[in-house]
Symmetry: C2
Subunit: 327 residues, 2 copies
């Protein structure tokens, strides 16, 4: 019997799922357009049907042992998605309970950044680590903390919102309702805003002057920087400076072994890592200097969110077995 899990990544536009083994091989992958369903139960039923179809195509020697779900505003304790701003269904969506009823296996749900952190521990670069942080750099900045080998959930299941620490209380407007949050500076959107600020303030010629805000993306900024574009280079330097300064504060909270950067912005390599590390070290309390690694995530591919979600099940089962072995 080969144990398999389902990993589900619920995004505002698309819901991706995969059937995954313990080694992180995705044996089957599927996609449901999230936006297409007006009614949540129609959406849920379409997911169940697609997953059942996927399972039916597997060899009969395999066995489903659990379902993991990563979603913005997913709450680990309740198993609900609560007040997600990126979904059209309002209120509380009891996904873990519904999946558990539909498939009769445990369903673990948490937010996408927490799923990424557990994914890094189960499949990625944090395999032998017990204390680390994953920073996800997408439209916003998410974070997941593993402390002493355990995902940090907090009292209300919403720990790890480092994207909403403050860079400048009078700074850029944030979707959360505040101003100056870290994610308004450090994220795919944040670096775009920085490019536009630099283009507004300075006179330097830049190939980015010809691109609209909507069209501009991290890859373009990174390619321009590699071609020597002064504005693009300065945008990375500025982004890394702010990220490094704020990571220095995160480090003194939880004393991690490493911080992993995940997502588009982290793919820019040295452009983002060098200033981030330099400014983190410069701003760190001396006691911590030279102790904390800043590393790329090993999960930099299309299947990462699916793997992250599926890893929640393996982590859950590992801890269950560890308890059972004691008994």
């Amino acid at each position: 019997m080969k144990d398999l899990t389902i990993g589900i990544d619920i995004g505002g536009t698309n819901t991706k799922f995969g059937i995954v083994d313990r080694e992180g091989n995705v044996l089957h992958q599927g996609n449901i357009p999230t936006t297409q369903f007006e009614d949540f139960h129609d959406y849920f039923n379409a997911m169940v049907e697609a997953i059942r179809k996927g399972i039916s195509e597997l060899p009969s020697s395999s066995r489903l042992v659990g379902i993991g779900v990563g979603a913005a505003n997913g709450n680990y304790y309740t198993g609900n998605i609560e007040r997600a701003t990126n979904l059209k269904w309002k209120g509380v969506l009891p996904l873990a309970r519904l999946f558990n009823e539909a498939f009769d296996v445990p369903c673990i749900l948490t937010n996408d950044a927490n799923a990424a952190a557990v994914g890094e521990m189960i499949y990625g670069n944090a395999k032998n680590m017990k204390d680390f942080v994953v920073i996800t750099l997408g439209t916003g900045l998410g974070s997941g903390f593993v402390c002493g080998g355990v995902l940090l959930n907090g009292k209300h299941g919403i720990a790890g919102e480092v994207g909403h620490t403050s860079v400048n209380p009078n700074g850029r407007y944030c979707n959360c309702g505040k101003r100056g949050c870290l994610e308004t500076y450090v994220s795919a959107t944040g670096i775009k805003r920085t490019v536009y600020k630099l283009l507004a303030d300075h006179l330097e010629p830049s190939e980015l002057r010809g691109i609209s805000f909507e069209d501009l993306n991290t890859k373009m900024i990174s390619e321009a920087a590699n071609r020597g574009d002064v504005v693009a280079k300065e945008a990375f330097e500025y982004t890394g400076r702010i990220l490094g300064m704020k990571l220095a504060e995160t480090v003194v909270h939880t004393d991690p072994e490493a911080i992993f950067l995940f997502g588009g912005l982290s793919m820019a390599g040295d452009l983002i890592f060098k200033p981030t590390i330099r400014h983190m070290e410069a701003n760190l309390m001396p006691l911590f200097r030279g102790k904390v690694k800043v590393l790329p995530s090993a999960m930099q591919n299309q299947a990462a969110p699916i793997l992250g979600a599926s890893s929640l099940v393996w982590d859950y089962l590992d801890k269950l077995h560890a308890k059972a072995e004691l008994a």
Copy 2:
């Protein structure tokens, strides 16, 4: 047989110890002047002798089950005090091993703020909490985190240095070598610095103008504020504003149920709590607003550091028994 622990608080000037029962009653208390000993081993031997004398005076129906030590720069993992700036003995002091050898019981060592956090959980206001933070406001600002019922130690045993997050990178000089650390604003020393800054900047008459920096203490500032002194009141407002802003950042890291304030500055009551709570809420990511309590520590007495240290043993034994019960 009544189980008893020794709690030891190693301060730069004095080392206090107590023999403590599970309910937090201090059955015997002693004091060793830390500064009096040029040689670390003389100091350690004097402690052992004083503790042995204390034990000899107890009823024979009691049993020593462990020793807990709280000390600045105490490392939980190694059991060593490492490079403490407040002690004259340099290098690594292997206290946990030495106590274990001397008394043949487990010895748990950690830094004083971590000991305060465990003390709050075992004897204080956090008895039924699994996720909380203790902020100790003394000469500096210490912090201890309990997450999921477990003390957060971090990779290197130095988690919880919130006193060295940044308020202003060009701000006040800090003992750690950086500038603008939280503890240079929020601590007994921090509020004195703020009073002197206000006296320098403003023209208002204040009873504090007659007191030297060396003589000034938190109690004087608090009494002046209660008498309506404008500068003293403004100093508390400013201190609470900075603490509230920074606690809003701590909250989004670990999502605690409550934050406890401990130490002299926290004894000022509403003077410090009101602005701290107001500014924490105003600066919090909306998702967290109204969820996190800011409360006074229940450990506000002379024996608190001893109780905190002794609680390390009860916590250690509780977790050991919980494991044994599973087995």
